[in-house]
């Protein structure tokens, strides 16, 4: 059985939503980010004027690190900082990736005083597997379902959503938690694998009520870091997890 220990982080996307950022100017965003993180985002740069009628989440600014492992993309309504694995040897923990991304978000919020109503984290993990469909079916389906109808599945996925209130100091709001376990392969690798995507975010319906400053953003990402790690262990537990729980 596959365990959580066999998964590696493939990408980490940290997101802040800035619904009222009418003063967004791409060139100012570039200056704000490169002033603090210029050494890191020294790779490809894209800045384009985006008309007001284009959805605000579409980025007008894209900054990349020299090795392509980190990226900032920003539009009027949304600011992302992303970490991506650039090869099989690129291995980080979720905490390490967040330590790269979250300070960029916090700097942006402090420098621009932009209102942040919603936050999100999307983590993608991968684990090489010769027969991902069969592995997932055996893990998540009872014996009867394994015989029929999932006896000859070429691909298989489970997709689970929960909304809940995390127990964490400084967090008094509910979050969405999505987990999606899929079969697939990720370029440039062609070997089959299991891909698990976890999407943790604050509720869109509450985005007008929330005002996340830089400190609260830090608390959110610390909280979801712990939550996502705990969740992946529930989906793909190891023997040691059970032993320690007992």
């Amino acid at each position: 059985m596959v365990t959580w220990k066999e998964f590696t982080i493939h990408s980490v996307q940290t997101v802040i939503f800035t619904p009222d950022h009418s003063a967004f100017v791409g060139s100012r965003v570039v200056a704000t980010i490169v002033r603090q993180f210029g050494d890191r985002f020294s790779g490809d740069m894209q800045v384009l004027p985006v008309p007001q009628d284009v959805p605000s989440e579409f980025p007008a600014v894209v900054l990349k690190s020299g090795d392509g492992s980190q990226e900032v993309n920003a539009g009027r309504g949304r600011f992302n900082c992303v970490w991506k694995a650039t090869g099989p040897e690129a291995s980080v923990t979720l905490r390490e990736a967040l330590d790269q991304c979250v300070p960029v978000l916090q700097h942006y919020v402090r420098e621009t005083n932009v209102g942040v109503g919603r936050l999100g984290l999307v983590v993608q993990r991968v684990c090489p597997n010769d027969n991902p469909a069969l592995t997932l079916i055996r893990r998540f389906c009872n014996e009867e379902s394994q015989k029929e109808p999932f006896d000859r599945s070429s691909t298989f996925e489970i997709h689970n959503h929960k909304e809940y209130a995390p127990v964490y100091e400084g967090v008094d709001y509910r979050i969405n938690s999505w987990v999606r376990c899929q079969c697939g392969s990720i370029e440039p690798e062609t070997a089959s694998l299991i891909r698990v995507t976890q999407d943790m975010n604050t509720l869109a319906a509450k985005s007008q009520e929330h005002q996340f400053d830089a400190d609260k953003i830090g608390v959110f990402f610390s909280m979801v870091c712990e939550e996502t790690e705990a969740i992946i262990k529930k989906y793909f537990p190891s023997e040691n997890d059970h032993a320690s729980n007992d």
Binding site: V30, A31, M45, V47, P51, V62, N80, D199, N201, A205
Partner: protein, 176 residues
């Protein structure tokens, strides 16, 4: 996470969708719609022209911005010649002007040529494009109270004017 937009997810636009909107952003011509990011569907064909537009951006600026960042990383102290790093105002205005000028130049399918960045003793920024046939000098003073200007020289023709992104992009046409 689902292909359709669900407000409970942090949805990332798909590549085709992203590029379609980049093209829209550049040309301001309404697009027919977004491509679904469903791997079971055949994605919309992105033409080479569209890809070129979508990818153009201002990539060529990175070397100049890198020089600015290098100066910004100098110590805050002064030496016998004055400041070692630009003021924040000069730095921000310089990056802003370069980026906006690059966008203007991009409309004419031109790129901002490589230039040389330095600072003055008060922390103002100077970016110079010097070639045998012509030169263009962008001067961004340390203080926001002073106007930035651009000086150009080509043969017998030379002049100084307050800088705008459009003006800077225009004069940089001299630099081959």
């Amino acid at each position: 996470m689902p292909a359709t937009i669900d407000e409970r997810t942090v949805r990332q636009p798909g590549k085709a969708e992203f590029q379609a909107w980049w093209r829209y952003a550049i040309t301001a011509i309404p697009d027919s719609g977004m491509a679904e990011d469903d791997p079971r569907a055949t994605p919309d064909e992105i033409s080479p022209e569209r890809r070129q537009l979508a990818d153009a951006g201002v990539l060529h600026l990175s070397p100049i911005v890198s020089q600015l960042v290098e100066l910004w990383n100098e110590p805050e102290e002064e030496d016998e010649y004055g400041r070692l790093r630009p003021t924040q105002g000069a730095f921000d205005r310089s990056v802003g002007l370069l980026v906006d000028a690059a966008i203007e130049a991009h409309y004419e399918q031109r790129a901002i040529p490589s230039g040389c960045v330095s600072i003055d003793s008060e922390g103002g920024v100077r970016i110079e494009w010097v070639r045998p046939a012509a030169s263009v000098h962008l001067v961004v003073p340390a203080s926001k109270d002073n106007e930035a200007y651009v000086y150009h020289e080509a043969g017998d023709d030379y002049a100084t004017e307050d800088v705008t992104p459009e003006g800077l992009a225009y004069w940089l046409r001299l630099i081959k």
